[in-house]
Amino acid sequence: MNRRFLGALSKIYPGERLLTRDVELLPYESDALTAFQTKPGAVVLPENADEVIATVRLCHEHSVPFVARGSGTSLSGGSLPIADGLTIALNRLNRIKRIDPQQRIAVVEPGVVNLHISQAAQPFGLYYAPDPSSQSICTIGGNIAFNSGGAHCLKYGMTSNHVLGMKVALADGSLTEFGGESLDGCGIGPDLVGLFVGSEGLFGIALEMTLRLLPIPELYRTVLAAFDYLGRAGDAVSRVVASGLLPGAIEIMDRLAIRAAETVGANYPDAEALLIVELEGEALQVEAEFTQLRELIEDSGAFEIRTAQNEDERARIWKGRKSAFSAVGRLSPDYIVQDGVVPRSRLGEALSQINALKRSYGLEVANVFHAGDGNLHPLILFDGREAGALRKAEALAGEILAMCVELGGSITGEHGVGVEKRDYMPAMFSEAELDIMLALRQAIDPREIANRGKMFPSGEAPALKMQGMHPLERQGLISRE
């Protein structure tokens, strides 16, 4: 790294918050997409927005690429360092500045962990709705960059639908604010919040955000239904949707995912497919909806139906689903989590194609998906110690994504493009569309220093490495529960 740049950084940061030695950099070498590893030039640990702003300005001045990092749980290489670039780790900007229950909002810093917001809002009967499975560790800054979702996005939307206002340092160091405390968000004028959310760190760094909170539902009704045929579970979803019900969550797991869930003691029925449907809202309304839901599911040929009678049983139903990713890790030395979207009515078709593909590749694939919005998460199992295994798994993943686009869907529903999917962007977007996105990026970040090498095709590919645990996992700092 350039000495003058490092010298200037050391004027902002004391030694213990400016990491440059190899051992210090190791935990930052990758995110949760462990196939990619890159050593950053340095890592800084700012403690407030002013330090972040000064750092971004310095990067711009010296044309040093930087990547913002939350908890490094990105599954697409979004927070992968840039070789010889700067990693700006935001975990210390973790203050919840204000919870305003009367206006139902929270004002927070980017390093706040998703779940901590709901915990802080809980005494007021409120919660923060988007619930990625990684919510106990991932940060709101990372959620914003990827427009992260979760199991409960069908009814209330993804991260973007819950951000009202932001303060941002753009990549060239200019500061801007948009939206505010109104539930109407930007309200008048273009929706800048909507544009920033999902920009994968390519526009700059979000410094503060105002979030919408929702009332904790009075009642949840959670149903687990077991099927002896995956297609039947899919048909059940179509029936639920056609009935006019609007569940908070509709999830499906296939046989292998169910088997994986057993390793975390989920205690699910032995089935080809499991369907989880959750209703939420005012008790009287939910009870009435539940009667209807139960009839629908009974008619759809489920051989076993379980209904959570209390919060404990509800948690048990969700436990297996929410830890499915890590559980698959117990079945196989390595795996790739994929994330594609197809129109809901084509889920069945998508699954049979995945089945055919996995057979032709000779690989195992476990399927977990947000069936309500057609968001697939195929988990491709392989053994990274076998020569060529990773490449083969990546190739299968690529075919699955191509299929998603062909069926009229998307290459990512919530994990973002990052490094992993940038070469699939042309499958989804025309040249004109990609050009305009690139032009936009260059207008906002003329030196292309913010998260360089991500989202856009081409750009030099970082070396693929052996799979294995995340450096933070190895140190026991995070786990994929």
Binding site: D184, G187, E282
Partner: protein
């Protein structure tokens, strides 16, 4: 008559400045001195998949037509676009105007999935996607919500839609002062009730809180009872009334007469101070006090009031050259998008 994308591209190429017009339901937005690109001929539903909860429609299509097609399948646009009888769907999105039912699930931004556009250089492309969930690429479709046709011309829009509820019940609570009505809305915000709409209507004396509950026929009476009891206990209204013929209550612009009409975006904490300054103007607050509609005599006066309160407004009706009221909208990020999509500044 503009009938397709090619016509639009040709129009853009042929003009140095132009102004996009849907069906012209908000006259204050069209007092620009530039040739109008009239999109009212660009109509029709392109694709509607009720089981996918998705709808693709041409931008100039009458809102009424879109809403009728959805209603046939028991579905609706949850952002409750305003001026259903006269507006186009594209105009509703470009002006980001929602009615009271926006309260339940969100605004246009929360339901726009993608768009086909022609930008200021005449290039045509699509932004966003056509499935209910998509995280690939920059979300320019959301950006265009509220953009007033100044960044790109939307030719086609794809929305997420939802099943509608079978029935509604509405209640009116009267308070001796606006502050008490606002406090009552705060109390409701902390409660477990999921309202379809919650409006605050100041009167000559005191104020009313209007609440709407939607759901199954069988459960509504008991829910209304429970809700009414909660509000009565928690907020001590002077009067409680269950409204029988309730649908007309929710035309939130009804009765807002006067030469000028504007939408205001605000936070509930700003409501009392703003309202005191608006004294005399006809007004109604929707979205639990997060949005307001004001009818008055003089747009210049409203512009001034809003600026003093650090707020922004959008004029729908009234005679001024610029419909943007209050705090200026200038923003560095928006400016860079403008420089990218419309470098020559054609779209005004």
């Amino acid at each position: 008559m503009i009938a397709n994308e090619k016509d639009i591209q040709a129009f853009v190429k042929a003009h140095a400045r132009l102004h996009v017009r849907g069906r012209g339901s908000k006259p204050a937005l069209h007092q620009v001195d530039a040739p109008a690109l009239d999109l009212s001929g660009l109509r029709g539903i392109v694709d509607y998949q009720p089981q996918e909860f998705t709808l693709t429609v041409r931008a100039g299509t009458a809102l009424r037509e879109v809403m009728a097609a959805l209603a046939e399948q028991g579905q609706y646009l949850p952002f409750d676009p305003l001026l259903a009888d006269s507006a186009s769907i594209g105009g509703a999105v470009a002006s980001n105007l929602s009615g009271s039912r926006r309260h339940r699930y969100g605004g246009a931004r929360d339901f726009v999935l993608g768009a086909s556009v022609v930008d200021g250089t005449g290039q045509a492309y699509t932004v966003g996607g056509k499935v209910v969930k998509n995280a690939a690429g920059f979300d320019l479709a959301k950006f265009l919500v509220g953009s007033l046709g100044r960044y790109a011309i939307m030719t086609e829009l794809t929305f997420k839609v939802f099943p509608d509820v079978p029935q509604f019940r509405s209640l009116r609570f009267r308070y001796e002062a606006l502050a008490a009505a606002l406090e009552a809305s705060y109390a409701l915000n902390g409660s477990r009730f999921e309202l379809d709409a919650l409006d605050i209507v100041p009167g000559a004396v005191g104020a009313e809180l209007l609440a709407r509950l939607g759901g199954f026929r069988e459960t509504l009476p008991a829910r209304v009872e429970g809700f009414s009891q909660f509000v009565s206990k928690a907020t001590a209204p002077q009067q409680v009334e269950v409204i029988q013929d309730e649908s007309s209550l929710w035309d939130c612009l009804a009765g807002l007469n006067g030469p000028c009409l504007a939408k205001v975006t605000l936070a509930p904490r700003q409501l009392l101070a703003l309202d005191a300054a608006l004294d005399g103007a006809n007004r109604r607050y929707t979205l639990a006090g997060n949005s307001g509609f004001v009818a008055c005599e003089d747009a210049g006066w409203l512009d001034d009031v809003l600026a003093r309160h650090g707020l922004r407004g959008l004029l729908l009706r009234g005679d001024v050259p610029c419909p943007l009221l209050g705090l200026p909208l200038e923003n560095v990020l928006a400016a860079r998008v403008k420089a990218t999509l419309d470098p020559l500044g054609k779209l005004v």
